[in-house]
Amino acid sequence: MNLQKRIGPFLKDDDSVSKIMNRYTFALLPIIIFVFFKHGIFTYINGYTNVFGILYPLIFMTVGAMGSVLSEEVFLVVFKKLKNKDLLDNIAKNYSYLPGLLLSLIIPINTPLAILFIGGIFSSIIGKMIYGGFGNNIYNYSVLGSISIYSTYSDIINNNGGYLNIYETIKSNSIFDYLIGNTLGPLGTTSIILIFISLIYLIVTKTINYRASISYILTFILLGITSGINLSYIIVPLSSILFVSAFLMNPTPVTNKGSILYGITLGIVTFILYYHIGYNGILLSILILNTFIFLFDKIGSRIEFNKIYYIFYIIVIFSAFSTSFITNNQNINSEVISYEYIR
């Protein structure tokens, strides 16, 4: 008998990292197609651009993705971490296109391509590769990339038009526009319906950590409702909130109760920052909370064996109440949450 020794268990689940990442990329497809229609085809139909302009959103996303892919390849070659010679294989295994592609979806359409390219490089190298590559990142790489280019080049992006898509400047937005995403905002984060469908797909196929995502969305919406702010102020950021919960939540804590606590806390921090500094507040809150993931895991793993750690839930829920109360007594500056200019 030709016997081999192996480590058990001898049955394994069908799902794998590559399947998860493929589903994740697949969920991005409807949004990419939507971007192509909104910024390419519709702009052309309305007569604001030429034939080249139809392809511009696709070129835009490709440039972002290329920034990541090229910089990661260079990084691997320079630091001699290239495991096999096949460069294409490396792109597939490291999902190199993701940081830049996601980055291009969360920044204004009028960001100059050069800056986008730099952002892609930054996302990949600073956000991902220096921590050891795929799966080892502490911060969400795309959010890190977008915050860094906003903070460095906001003047250039503003002068170039910011979020404005020419034909959108002349129309007023209805609820329906917000649902389908025919509004101002970053490329990919405007369509509530499409992002919601992608989110449901990702949750049902267990591709993302649903505990963190759902508690995050619910916290944000509940805070909005209980604080008594104008409902339209909740609908404007809703698509971005959904986009974050679907595509930008990684990394999250690994423990169940840590994830829920993380989602709630992120919801509160986002709520506060959003109504003070606008859209970038959503992204900034992710980076802030990413830093403390290890603490949420500590709480999440201890809470199972020691009930005293439920105190953190009480603290967080209490702070949610106070946030809602404080917001109630303030007038929100509607300029802050519009996408007229970047702060």
Binding site: M1, N2, L3, Q4, K5, R6, I7, G8, P9, F10, L11, K12, D13, D15, S16, V17, K19, I20, G133, F134, G135, N136, K206, N209, R211, N250, P251, T252, P253, V254, T255, N256, S259, D297, K298, G300, S301, R302, E304, F305
Partner: protein
Amino acid sequence: MRGINIKGYKNITKDKNLLVYDKPKFVYIGVSKNDKLRVIVGDKVYIGSVIASSDLNVYSSVSGTVVGFEDKTDISGNLIKVVKIENNFKEEYQNENIIEDIDNYTKREFISILKECSIRGLGGAGFPTYLKYKTKTRIKHLIINAVECEPYITADYKIIKEKTKEILECIDAIMTINKIDDAYFVVKKNNDSIIKILNKIIGIYPKIKITLVPDIYPMGWEKSIVSYIFHKEYNELPIELDTVVNNVSTIYAIYEALKYHKPLIDRIVTFAGDGLRKNVNVFLKIGTDVSEVIDTLGYKKDELVLVAGGPMMGTSAKEAIITPNINAILLLKNNKLDIPDVCIRCGRCSSICPAKLSPILIKENIDSKELKYLHPEKCIECGLCSYICPAKILLKEHVIRAKGSDNV
């Protein structure tokens, strides 16, 4: 209840006739370090002769001659001493023709019979059964575990099918002797065939209830069953909730001990897997060399993996001898090894762990002081973390290693 539905592969052995393989040429009876040897090379032994003894006796499962002592690795990889006995195929018993009334015992006699006959849990852990009953508090509930949640294994199903009457009779006797209020016969919800078999005669015993549990792994774990039935959790042993849990195969072993004073010398083992030509349940003597049985059943020429136990909790070995706690032997084709990926922090291992551990955090903190807050010692080695991990990280191995770490 945390767990997951895993494909059962049970039909490949379920309805096949039991193969009786009770004439091995040699048996290898394992002797632990504390056991005092009672035989020397050349001694003649009978079925049921004491070979070694400490707390529990070790019995010979065949009649024949002691031919030597050898070192063999057991399924957990430890080197153990075995007594090699050559079978003379005469089936001579040490003490024959004892037939007793099984409910005609006092509790004290009952416990001493269990101890004398070395009855152990046949479900997997091999815990001495008499210790479960030797308690000062009154036992109120008896749970008979026939869940058999691991894939492939149908040994318990087989014994229920073959010995339904005896098992129920024995449960009734145990209840009378120990003055137990009620018994729960726990089977899987979708295991229609067992429910049908039991329904035919369970009506005679009004105190024995059939309890249905969901078809998830690891539902057969004592703690899962107890918390499913009573909605309460215990810390160390089920006796904290005045409950004793016995595997159904153990119940039959108790029956034989009470009725014939027969020690634990044989059991049913499921032989299955895509590496075997014939998948079947086999009735075996304790101490039978597994390779002898596999030769009889036939095997395929591919690269194979021999697993002692079920596919989830079992361990791979190059050789194995049947001990009381082995309920299955699998011979699987060696699939390509999955090279572990990087953890993508999906958190599935934490959300599935029935002991509420965070396997990936245990792996990462194996050398840090944080480890003691992660309680790796609570791991039941069910293997679900390694099963579910999309990155195919061998989490179970890491947690087991953490169990033995100084930082716990």
